[in-house]
Amino acid sequence: MNRNKVFITLFALSLSATSAFAYDKTSEAAKKYSPYANSDMPMNVYWGDSHVHTGLSLDAGLFGNVLVPDDAYRLAKGEQLTASSGVPIQLSRPLDWLVVTDHTDLMGIATDIKAGTPNILADKKGKEWHEGFKKGGKAAGEAAFDLIGNFAQMTLPEQLVDDYSPGSKVFGGVWKQIVDAADKHNEPGLFTAFIGYEWTSVPKGFNLHRNVVLRDGGDKALKVQPPTTQPPLGSTDPLVLYKWLEDYEKNQNGQAFAFAHNGNLSNGWMFPTEDTYAGGKVNNNYVKLRAKWEPHYEVTQIKGDGEAHPTLSPDDEFADYGTWDIGNLDISQLKKPDMLKGEYAREALKQGLALEKKLGTNPYKFGLGGATDTHTSLATADEDNFFGKSTSVEPNKDRSSHPFVKSKLGAHEGYALLASGYTGIWAAENTREALFDAWERKETYGTTGPRMRVRMFGGWGFTENDLYANNSAAIGYEKGVPMGGELVKAKGKAPSFMVTALKDPQSANLDRVQMIKGWIDKDGKLHEKIYDLAVSDGRKIDDDGRAKEPVGNTVDLKTATWIDNIGDVQLAAVWTDPDFDKKESAFYYVRVLEIPTPTWILYDVVKLGAKVHKNAELVGQERAYTSPIWFSPK
């Protein structure tokens, strides 16, 4: 883009040198005449799930998931499939992109037999099979059965077994399968299939998982192996993952980043401020590396919502949404209140300001997104079309009443699963490059499933007229920065924000749009405050910035339906921070709430005749969280 601009400027200069004066006069204005030429303005929001496991992941396979990445992409692209539990499934509408994040282990021998790689041909049996495959027809069938027989009996030639075990030169069958499937389904302009994997660090049951997304294609991805977390080769320390990313970028000349999820199951270790679980310190090195390699956070997913916690944010009546409060991932240790500080995104954004003051870098300056983390290969986040966390909890009437994880200490209950979420990415086009770059500049937002269209710009002079202007977004970029951006130098006045939210045409009306501000005062104390920017149905916003009156509830518990006669189709506001202090670092992010709608549990009751636990939520307010805009006084 920049290169194009430079080129065009050079071209224009060379023209002006040789052409008539009349052209010179108009060239500057004319060059800017077409608003679409050279525009890389992100005008579209592209929806996807950044966290899907298929049957290739050992754990998912154990739960009976027989669907592979190919199936995951096909569902995401809108095709109808049969789920592993035998039920037909289709998404309400296609997604624009997907990251399959399987874990990898051995395999890949059959592919090489077909191809006749040197190590296969060096083996007598291998050569036989290869020739059989080459002949095709009956001979291929016989070769295949012979191979399968040897495989099942574990009587493959020793050399070949060695060759296809982790660590050997030709290992990588599953990784190759993942990469190949992504390359096959990546259709620039139509659908983006990212290459990625999950790094499953979970020391002592404390969830420290990270997903990794590559900007690149198979040519680079196949030159590396994803790192493992199992000793002796692997490590559960994120610093080791950062090293992998560093090496990848340096050696392959590629680009990649990592993002974490489920701080709520880390028992305080996701966002450390003093010590890390691996035994390190939150020091200069840690904050720099974390800020560099983790520009994003998966704030909402099936295993609970991680935006805010009612104990940390007692003044936020919407904070208790999808709260998982029992313990760590395997419930080997129960949750204590003092752990929450290291678990939730809003608190981490605040702690990041304090760490920035202390160490000079904010390690928790991340954008926000949502994903499912499903182990079914099926990226479902809609309440009325929810295929659960694993094949064992695909639609069946008992899934909400059975514990999902159980230990001697407690249980993550089946009804606690949240049909959530997706990520919207603002970009100019649907390609790996454009989406990845938007992700890195944090122009993303997460939702708990609905695809509402949310924009936020922060700057120094937005007016009400800008909101409904037909080039509103262009004004946003011209006068300010989009979500994920940074404002500096206050010039004595308070920043203003232009925020717009349009409902998902296939979901419910909107209740309200809120600004959530966090800041650090001159004594180093951290604060947060919520402002309602726009509320539906003409309700009043009080002087303290809040609309106290709830939007109401139209959900019919007998039929699992709602009526859009409350809430609004669109909500928009220009808002200037009334409590701004130009010496205080701050962040601002938008939360959009839908009117109450049925949860998947209520749909299970109505559609499957499920019985429900008394603590289960039958009605909820789905929501969107934008990446913040940060203000920095320096």
Partner: protein
């Protein structure tokens, strides 16, 4: 006493047994032959590579010996476990073996390439999947329906009058874009709901009409271009059709294989006698657990 003992049939039996064992032993000398654990050169290479990944150098002699011993110990354990039958009925192992079979079938199926004719037939049969997008260009004026009915009716009739006079209708302020240029039906569904593009079909070009309904409210439309969805030619989307064919082929190869597989066995189902068929209620769904990773 001795005589009595010597005539006891039990003693005879024991003596014969002892003689038999002595004879067997001398005829079959204990060779003490051991089973072999082979550490192949491939395995050594693998150990070296593992070491290299972790420590960025090759192991020295002592380290290599330690790794070899470690591998041998593991292998001996494995053999012992298998001889004790510990691999039987292990859900982790069973699931892995099942998965390996599925990989092999998939790989086998992918070896087959369709002829031109087969691909052509598949394309013909699945034409609905190979439609290009319908394309629309139009200007829209949005009318919010979030107002009292009388007021809405009044507003709509005012707009009708404007259109009759050849004037453009005036819409409410909207976050929706006003001009849609070469928008696909996919794009319209995304922004205006699933039925909107359907409602634009067969509408006149270059004049205002409406209102037509979307998921967001009502819209007056000035349509300037409409291109119906067209079947894409096989030449243009051959790669996609080929990928789809492989996907379907793999499914059917798997089905055929499973059928053949079951034909190799006699199925014997032992229903519980007292109850006959289990009812749905009695089949308790398995307690689900969080996947380990």
């Amino acid at each position: 006493m001795m005589k009595k003992l010597l005539s006891d049939p039990l003693i005879h039996f024991l003596l014969i047994a002892v003689l038999y064992f002595v004879a067997y032993d001398s005829l079959n000398p204990n060779t003490n032959e051991l089973e072999t654990i082979v550490i192949s050169s491939g395995k050594i290479e693998q150990i070296n590579n593992n070491f290299l990944t972790r420590w960025k150098r090759l192991p020295n002699e002592k380290e290599l010996q330690r790794a070899i011993k470690g591998f041998a110990t593991k292998d001996a354990y494995l053999r012992e476990a298998i001889s004790l039958g510990l691999d039987k009925n292990d859900p982790v192992i069973n699931s892995q073996l099942h998965k390996k079979m599925l990989y092999l079938i998939e790989d086998m199926a992918s070896a087959e390439e369709p002829s031109e004719q087969v691909l052509q037939d598949y394309y013909q049969l699945n034409q609905d999947k190979y439609l290009g997008p319908a394309i629309y260009s139009f200007t829209q004026m949005y009318i919010s329906t979030d107002r009292p009915k009388d007021e809405l009716d009044q507003l709509l009739s005012t707009q009708q009058e404007r259109m009759l006079k050849g004037l453009a209708p005036i819409g409410d302020p909207s976050l929706l874009q006003t001009d849609f240029t070469d928008a696909t039906d996919f794009h319209l569904t995304r922004n205006l709901g699933s039925e909107f593009s359907e409602r634009l079909k067969d509408k006149p070009l270059n004049k205002w009409f409406g209102p037509i309904e979307s998921a967001l409210g009502l819209h007056y439309i000035y349509l300037t271009n409409h291109i119906a969805a067209k079947l894409l030619t096989l030449e243009n989307i051959k790669q996609k059709v080929l990928i789809d064919w492989h996907y379907q082929n793999q499914k059917s190869v798997q089905e055929k294989y499973e059928q053949q597989l079951l034909e190799q066995y006699k199925l014997e189902v032992q229903m519980p006698k007292s109850k006959g068929m289990l009812t749905k209620k009695e089949v308790k769904s398995e307690t689900s657990k969080e996947p380990a990773q």
